[in-house]
């Protein structure tokens, strides 16, 4: 820095470097100063109106009383108000009554899609397409009945399939005959089962669960409902356990379903969703409508 000012009368600060590099006392441009003061005013105005200074536990509140959380909650209230007109209506209705009204059905489907995704899709797939071992919900093949009442029972109370392991009951050739018969039944929709197969089916206790005609129905009630214990319908082309076919059928006959102490047994357990408040009755009702409308409701 130079000791004397080589540029007197120039309105500089007297700070000069490298002979001629010097700091001038020019005022900032007016527009810049206006911007500066406007910004300061803005800050003052903002801190008066909105939450800002972190004083103590809570920041200053601002005289408008606005917070992001309040705005968020207002938004939620608006959504709830929009839904309320539908929710109020379906509150007192049964699942069948909802299904009879196309507008309410659409609302319920949209609403239950989330519930289905959270609670059902892990096993039954995002669109009810099923997974190996877990039944398809989009078809009309129901183990426990496809009416709204039956679906509601299934969701609320859960289901546990049962089939005896026949490895120590039947002879190996009998198992083979039955497994062949199951495949024939599957391929011909119940019309082409061998005589030998039918004989074994009827005499070895299979009818107790699969029904006299092997369609999984034990009795038909006058109101159209069916009585089942969850045994598979053997007269359609749908396999209960993947991948289907002779080996798969043989496996099921040998080791059964949910048999304690049989490591190879098939698993078929659905938890009860009314237990421990997992789902409320209203939520179950919405899910019943959703599952019923997936493609095969009765």
């Amino acid at each position: 820095m130079a000791d004397h000012n080589p540029f007197p009368g120039e309105n500089n600060t007297g700070h000069v470097w490298d002979d001629n590099l010097r700091e001038l006392k020019n005022l900032p441009p007016r527009w810049w100063m206006i911007g500066l003061w406007a910004s300061i005013l803005w800050v003052v105005g903002y801190t008066v109106l909105y939450p800002s200074w972190p004083v103590g536990q809570e920041p200053t509140q601002g005289i408008l009383g606005w917070t992001q959380m309040k705005e968020y909650k207002r938004g939620l209230e608006q959504v709830a108000a929009k839904r309320a007109e539908f929710e109020d209506k379906i509150q007192g209705m049964t699942a069948d009554e909802i299904i009879a009204d196309p507008g309410l059905t659409q609302y319920t489907l949209a609403s239950a899609k989330v519930l289905f995704g959270d609670n059902c899709s892990a096993c039954h797939g995002s669109g009810g397409q099923g997974n190996p071992g877990y039944p398809v919900l989009a078809d009309d093949d129901w183990l426990y009945g496809g009416t709204t009442t039956k679906i509601a029972q299934t969701i609320s109370g859960g289901r546990q399939g049962a089939m005896t392991a026949h490895q120590n009951i039947l002879k190996p050739e009998e198992v083979d005959t039955l497994a062949h018969w199951v495949v024939q039944m599957n391929e011909t929709a119940g019309k082409g089962g061998s005589e030998a197969g039918w004989a074994l089916f009827k005499t070895k206790g299979c009818t107790a669960c699969h029904g006299q005609t092997a369609n999984g129905v034990l009795a038909e009630l006058p109101n159209g409902d069916v009585v089942t214990v969850g045994a598979a319908n053997l007269t359609d082309g749908i396999w209960r356990f993947e991948p289907g076919g002779f080996e798969s059928a043989k496996h099921t006959i040998l080791y059964g379903v949910n048999q304690h102490g049989v490591p190879e047994t098939r698993n078929a357990v659905m938890p009860a969703f009314a237990d421990a408040g997992k789902l409320t009755d209203e939520e179950i009702k919405k899910l019943v409508v959703y599952v019923h409308e997936l493609g095969g409701g009765q």
């Binding site: 196309p102 507008g103 659409q106 489907l109 797939g125 995002s126 669109g127 009810g128 397409q129 099923g130 398809v136 989009a138 078809d139 009309d140 093949d141 929709a189 319908n233 359609d236 082309g237 749908i238 409308e293 997936l294 493609g295 095969g296």
Partner: protein
């Protein structure tokens, strides 16, 4: 002044006295352009009056509602008896294409006609300076008043002027908002604080914008802010006709002195009247330049002077560079540009007309369920699920019957009752299609959904949408 020794025609004396006051715009001071009457001046007012539609259009009624209403909250655009929904917005791109090409073709043929006669910046500035002239007087008086110290009289004049400017700015903003909401309701609600917050913000923005842009920035907007001014500048070519100074005839310019001396020089008498009347403050005699908005006011001014000094009109006139330089000029219809541009214009216009005339009252969308793509039913058939979306553009609820075709053995499930479609809305419906597995020859079987409805008028409307039926791999 300088011509005391000469005996010039007395008519131009007055012009020479003020000639030195006029100089080319460098942005340092406000342009106070002189106003002269003339055919181009009248033409300019006539063209500017197109903007009256902007102010009056919102009050037009059609069948009991606003004729043109861009209802953004409800996503409906009413154009007389037609309602355009967002689904039809492809027409907007054609409309924009049409106007973009129109701008190009007009500029290529007759220069920046948009800038000179139609642009809101030009028109609003014109109106603002007209008010200024009414209140403050001629350009000379205005310059004097600007320099004079503030008195009560000056304050009164300035207050009235700025008040009127702000009023026009307000009406500009208000009229803009009136296209987006019911204009009469807006008048009732606006002044009692019941209008939409966006309406107040828009009006405030437009008021301020109009006031600043037309009151103060004026031609500086064209010079430094407006991109179109530059874009249009490059659309000109040698055949474009623009207001131009005939250099061959005018130069060497010189002030009118003795009659015999005048013969030795060009026709331009160097009176600077062309600069005086120019709203952007340029000198047209320097040739085409970005500052020229081709408003043709200098043509009026120059013809005026030529009449006075007894020389032929048209020293400044609408002409092309080719013509000025003595090249041959092609007739309009032999120029490729004219045909190419007209072709695009016709295409865009045709598309819009087709769109407006074929706006279907119902529209059908079909979404094929993807999880699962198909399921096997217990009766041995393959079932696919579809979500149909029925858009009803009519103002009445309608019952839409759905059917499907494309395969002999197909069964449609869930379409026994028609879909009740809400007006102006999309109504979804979930349907199923079944085909016996043994009859399914293709993994992907194309099928077509049909929607049919009878409007309250008795007219039957049909629409269809292709989809696909998916089965297992064979």
């Amino acid at each position: 002044m300088r011509n005391q020794d000469a005996s010039p025609p007395s008519v131009v004396d007055a012009l020479y006295r003020e000639a030195d006051d006029w100089h080319v715009n460098a942005g340092g001071e406000t342009i106070h352009a002189k106003r002269l009457s003339g055919p181009w001046r009248r033409f300019k007012w006539l063209m500017a009056s197109v903007w009256l539609i902007y102010f009056l259009g919102p009050y037009l009624r059609w069948n009991g509602q606003q004729a043109v209403l861009f209802d953004i909250p409800n996503r409906q655009y009413h154009l007389f008896s037609t309602t355009v929904l967002p689904q039809d917005f492809w027409m907007l791109s054609l409309l924009l294409l049409f106007f973009a090409i129109l701008l190009a073709v007009v500029t290529a043929l007759v220069g920046r006609a948009w800038c000179g006669f139609f642009c809101f910046q030009t028109v609003w500035t014109d109106v603002f300076t007209w008010i200024e002239e009414r209140l403050e007087g001629s350009p000379v008086a205005r310059r004097t008043l600007d320099k004079a110290p503030m008195t009560l009289g000056k304050l009164r004049i300035k207050a009235i002027k700025h008040g009127l400017w702000i009023l026009i700015g307000f009406l500009t903003g208000f009229s803009f908002v009136a296209w987006f909401t019911d204009a009469f309701v807006l008048w009732r609600t606006f002044f009692v604080g019941e209008a939409n917050g966006a309406a107040y913000a828009t009006v405030a923005l437009f008021t301020a914008g109009t006031y600043v842009l037309a009151g103060f920035l004026r031609e500086q907007t064209c010079f430094w802010l407006c991109p179109y001014a530059r874009i249009q500048g490059v659309m000109l070519d040698r055949t474009t006709i623009v207001p131009a100074y005939d250099e061959q005839r005018g130069e060497p310019r010189g002030r009118v002195r003795r009659a015999e001396e005048a013969k030795a020089i060009g026709d331009c008498v160097d009176c600077n009247q062309c600069v005086a009347v120019c709203p952007t403050g340029i000198d047209i005699r320097q040739g085409q330049q970005e500052g020229c908005i081709t408003c043709a006011l200098c043509i009026d001014a120059c013809n005026h002077v030529m009449d006075k000094v007894g020389r032929p009109r048209g020293l400044i006139r609408y002409t092309s560079l080719d013509e000025l330089e003595g090249h041959s000029t092609k007739p309009l219809l032999l120029r490729a540009r004219v045909w190419v541009y007209s072709g695009i214009l016709a295409l865009a216009l045709g598309g819009i007309l087709y769109g407006l005339t074929s706006l279907a009252p119902i529209e059908l969308k079909v979404l094929h369920e993807r999880a699962p793509l198909f399921v096997l039913q217990s009766d041995g058939s393959i079932q696919n699920a579809y979500t149909l979306k029925v858009l009803n553009k009519t103002p009445e609820p309608i019952a839409v019957t759905i059917s499907v075709s494309g395969h002999d053995q197909m069964t449609l499930v869930g379409a026994d009752t028609p879909v009740m479609a809400d007006p102006g809305n999309v109504t979804p419906a979930r349907l199923f299609v079944k085909i016996p597995r043994r009859d399914l020859a293709e993994v992907q079987q194309p099928i077509v959904f049909h929607a049919e409805t009878r409007l309250p008028s008795g007219q039957t409307i049909e629409t269809e949408r292709e989809s696909v039926f998916i089965g297992p791999n064979r």
